[in-house]
Point group: C2
Chain length 389, copies 2
């Protein structure tokens, strides 16, 4: 494979760090960017990962010791134009993988300030990236992490970003209309709209990955040395349903799906995320192309997920209970859901599906660190509609 310069924005995060190791191990020249604001947000809302994470500097050092490979680091804020411009002038990436955004729906719904913070951070960061690409690396390929949540749950099949609409006897290929469920999801919709424009007008190359919910704690690379693990969140703000349910089972408290649990979502294993991003990088978007992939491998309802955890736990001798709680979000709990996801399998993706074995390995890992579980951060603290604002 041709060696590429790969710039990873948000390189300290749950996906950013494993992605950095993955590309580094394959021999690419990797640089990571982060300002560690996510760690600060975690501290502010009391949502630390189950197993403490060494600093990024330390992780890069451990990686070098374990593999002999160097990862470069830029520390700073993507919302600062000149910082971003400097990275692009200096590193001149061939591929940019952009995870550098505030990633939580509940965080974005905590109030006026958090909403603004989320939308400014995400939208302005991405604007600075495309301006820097235009200026310094107009042929580079931006791989931008979006989310399946941008689409919401429409009553028609969800296509991959674009849809051909026939209306009153005429036809056009248009962006798929979106109906997202939080100000965080909206920030990603804004990004997508800005990016489509940048491709159309400036001729940039962009792949927008509308990703499902990622699960899994390990990749080939996290296992290479102690301290290379990635963050595992099980709280109500940064944790996702499967993580929360596993921790609840281990902690001996009820598994708590929100509402009826009939909400369906796309899911994928973290090792598939890495492969999807790699496939996108190996097959870049064409000049001026705004390409969208729906990146997930399976659809489950939240109730099904709870049942899976309960049954895997039972196999390990843990008797877990399921208790439905009032849904803090405003969302449909019974709905049609049939999103297309053909592009990535066509490029070669071989999915790692969610097996009992995987859930059991997550449970086993959590059991190892059972004493670190903080039960108080699991139940929902942020309401989509509240009286107090």
């Amino acid at each position: 494979m041709v060696k590429k310069k790969v710039l990873i924005l948000g390189g300290d995060g749950y996906l950013g760090w494993p992605t950095a190791m993955y590309f580094s191990r394959k021999g690419h020249d990797v640089a990571v960017v982060d300002n560690f604001i996510k760690r600060q947000w975690e501290a502010e809302v009391e949502a630390e990962p189950l197993i403490p994470i060494p600093s990024l500097q330390q992780r890069i050092r451990i990686w070098k010791q374990a593999t002999g490979k160097k990862i470069r680091m830029y520390v700073g804020n993507l919302a600062h134009e000149r910082f971003v411009a400097r990275i692009f002038r200096d590193f001149k990436p061939d591929v940019i993988i952009h995870y550098g955004e505030q990633p939580s729906a509940p965080f974005s719904m905590m109030g006026n300030e958090r909403t603004n913070e989320t939308q400014i951070n995400n939208v302005v960061g991405t604007l600075n990236v495309i301006y820097s690409m235009k200026r310094s690396t107009p042929e580079a390929h931006l791989i931008k992490l979006g989310t399946m949540g941008e689409y919401g749950t429409p009553n028609i099949d969800i296509e991959e970003g674009w849809i051909t609409i026939t209306h009153k006897g005429r036809k056009d290929r248009m962006l798929f209309p979106k109906k997202p469920g939080s100000f965080y999801h909206l920030s990603k919709v804004h990004d997508s709209n800005n990016l489509e424009f940048a491709c159309r007008v400036w001729g940039l190359r962009v792949t927008d990955l509308n990703q499902g919910v990622v699960y899994g704690m390990e990749t080939e690379e996290t296992k290479l040395a102690d301290g290379l693990h990635t963050s595992f969140h099980y709280d109500d703000i940064f944790g996702t349903a499967l993580n929360r349910f596993c921790v609840q089972a281990v902690a001996g408290v009820p598994i708590t799906p929100y509402g009826k649990g009939g909400q369906k979502r796309g899911f994928l294993n973290i090792v598939d995320t890495l492969r999807c991003v790699e496939l996108a990088a190996l097959h870049p978007a064409k000049k001026g192309e705004f390409r969208v992939f729906n990146q997930f491998t399976e659809v489950f309802s939240i109730r099904e997920l709870a049942e899976k955890v309960k049954s895997a736990a039972a196999d390990m001798g843990i008797r877990a209970k399921i208790r439905h709680v009032r849904n803090p979000r405003t969302e449909l709990e019974q709905h049609y859901y049939n999103p297309v996801h053909r592009a990535l399998p066509k490029l070669g993706l071989k999915p790692h599906l969610l097996s009992d074995v995987l859930v059991e390995s997550m449970l086993a890992k959590i059991i190892e660190h059972k004493d670190l579980i903080n039960e108080e951060i699991i139940m929902p603290r942020v309401l989509w509609v509240s009286k107090t604002e």
Copy 2:
């Protein structure tokens, strides 16, 4: 008519000030908000209005003298959460008319900083408004100025904000997909998406007015006293095509449509803008309704507009020439364009169409102030695709 508390955001602007006088004259309790940043931007890019505009304080004083009516004023930045929250707590508006945004496509395309400034100012201002509504005036009606430019020029008929899509045998009513032509237009798309969410989740009432290009220098109220006139921009940044063409005719320089001039747009007279906003206010959106009106009365191509000015000028003894110049924007110059605009006429709008008489009255007004014309600010300075940025 029931007397209402009307809050006008951007009350110092081309439309904001005439709207304030219009509602004040009808007996409503009017408050205006502005931080005069638009005047600063005008100074920064050398784009002052043809006829100087007294300060907002002075205009409010003149209005009081002329009519006995008081207009309240709040000075501050809509992007500051606490400033906006304070206004809503203090004034408790029934209707909010939101013009308080950076209104220029070329300004938003001047570079990275201007793009960020435009999107932050517009998106965060609107977020602060909806949070303040939710907190202090959940039953109030927000009338938000959007633009027809949000839609771009799709190959299908443009519906009013929503479209029912039939796809693979299923159906849903969805937001009309948009393909805007600048980062300014994108900021309004972001607003629309945020607003739809706020209606859906918080039950707010919002009318999004996707307005065409407004022309005209006078309303019933601007004539009531000296100093009550509104701003007339003819420069490349804040001026619109009709204004530029009229000034070019008077200045004796060629009228310069961009490119082929086959670009079609919706237009309306400023007096119709006032009536449209009033009709929206009189017939508020329902609780939880995100309502979109396409607000224009006629469609012209830019070439037709140039011809109209040339012919009206000829009637006044002015021989104007038309010279097509290279289009600084990236846009289709020949395209299908058939936007629906039924909602406002159904509520009672009686359009004032663009007549020779109107163009001649604009020309006459410009001739009065001919010595103030600065020819150097008319030709395009901002390119959508340039080599230097």
